[in-house]
């Protein structure tokens, strides 16, 4: 009886200990990335190459989805606002919702599935084919050579992608609101400019997207580095990257919004 109780408690304790251990490992890994990133800043070419593969190649999906999200916001916002006779405020609604929330969050989710999964798969396969061990054999630190450039490329790319997403979204809202529905162009822009503040709205959005960039690339490089070196392990790690970083983005977004936009 006592033995069964103990084994049940062990069954409860083991996953908790395992998760905590993994979390601690991930934190130590993050500290190692920061520690070794000095070397990768001396060889900027590595970072540029990763900005190309995670930033530049995410451009199409970010720009197109930004445009469509903005156009949908324009249509739906107009439908609601015109019931209250406030359709002139469409520009404000589109711009604020994009700059504060949708730009960073949706760009972050897209970035996690487009670039994060690619990073995990790449590093996981490098591990599975023992390229990382080979680097260590040649006295090349794989964290400095492989992981840190990918991390910094993601952190640099993410705010730029989120800003592009928001800008495309505002343009999409403009296309629908002014060109298609026929709102007054002056009211659309001037009300937007009167209500959107650079420090409060745009800069906070940029901070958000930089935080999401850190979260996504950290999870992506960690899952890749920690993946089981088998085909199955790499595919599982890729899935976990997308799921964990999407959930982490949403949770962090709630915390950041509560800190930034509470009150007024």
């Amino acid at each position: 009886m006592l033995e069964r109780l103990a084994s049940m408690l062990r069954g409860l304790g083991r996953p908790v200990v395992d998760h905590l251990w993994r979390l601690g490992y991930a934190t130590r890994f993050f500290a190692l990335i920061l520690l070794y990133s000095g070397t990768s800043f001396r060889r900027l070419f590595l970072i540029f190459r990763e900005i190309y593969s995670s930033g530049v190649r995410s451009l199409i999906i970010i720009l197109v989805s930004g445009l469509f999200v903005g156009m949908v916001l324009g249509l739906q916002g107009y439908d609601t606002l015109q019931r209250f006779g406030a359709s002139d405020a469409l520009g404000v609604m589109v711009a604020l919702s994009l700059v504060r929330e949708l730009g960073p969050v949706v760009a972050g989710l897209l970035f996690a599935s487009r670039a994060g999964s690619a990073i995990t798969a790449e590093i996981g396969l490098m591990k599975a084919t023992e390229q990382l061990s080979a680097m260590e054999m040649m006295a090349v630190n794989p964290i400095a050579r492989v992981v840190a450039p990918r991390f910094w490329a993601g952190v640099i790319s993410m705010p730029l992608l989120a800003a592009l997403f928001s800008a495309m979204g505002v343009f999409g809202g403009y296309l629908v609101g002014v060109k298609m529905i026929g709102l007054d162009e002056g009211a659309f822009w001037s009300q937007m400019q009167a209500s959107v503040d650079f420090r409060e709205d745009i800069f906070n959005g940029i901070i958000k997207s930089a935080v999401f960039g850190v979260i996504v690339t950290w999870i992506a490089v960690f899952e890749g580095y920690d993946a089981k070196p088998t085909a199955e392990g790499v595919s599982g790690a890729t899935t976990r990257t997308v799921v964990t970083s999407s959930l982490a983005i949403l949770a962090a977004d709630f915390v950041l919004t509560a800190l930034m936009f509470r009150g007024s």
């Binding site: 540029f48 592009l164 800008a167 400019q193």
Partner: protein
Amino acid sequence: MNRLTLDLWVGLFVAIGFAAILFLALKVGNLGAASVSETYVLNAKFDNIGGLKVRAPIKSAGVSVGRVKEIKFDPQSYQAVVVLAIDGRYKFPRDTFANIRTSGLLGEQYVGLSVGGDPEMFKSGDSVKKTESAMVLEDLIGQFIFSKAAEGNTKK
């Protein structure tokens, strides 16, 4: 991939990324015009500020001339002290009237300045003597019902 092509793409990406931030700052956030060069502050005491908020605009003749910087409560006179930051380019006479108005029926509240005729101008830190409180809709409805009831009584 060729180093030159790669640099070109990354450069292009970073350039349009910063262009997007610039677009958001200037066209969406209106950073250029909103940052007023020099401001001076005036204090105004109101009996009731209604729903006035910090950063609400200050308008004279309908033109935005500043922003509400701070709202405090004065425990001596039990009044609200509104600190107005006004664009240094605009000077107002010392008998200027400050009142809290609403743009539209349900719009945001702002401070309106009605210019007087005093030859002397406000200096920074002065307080506005003549103020008028916010129009509170509930009070107006209450007064209306009260006067209607009074009318009904006199008719009988």
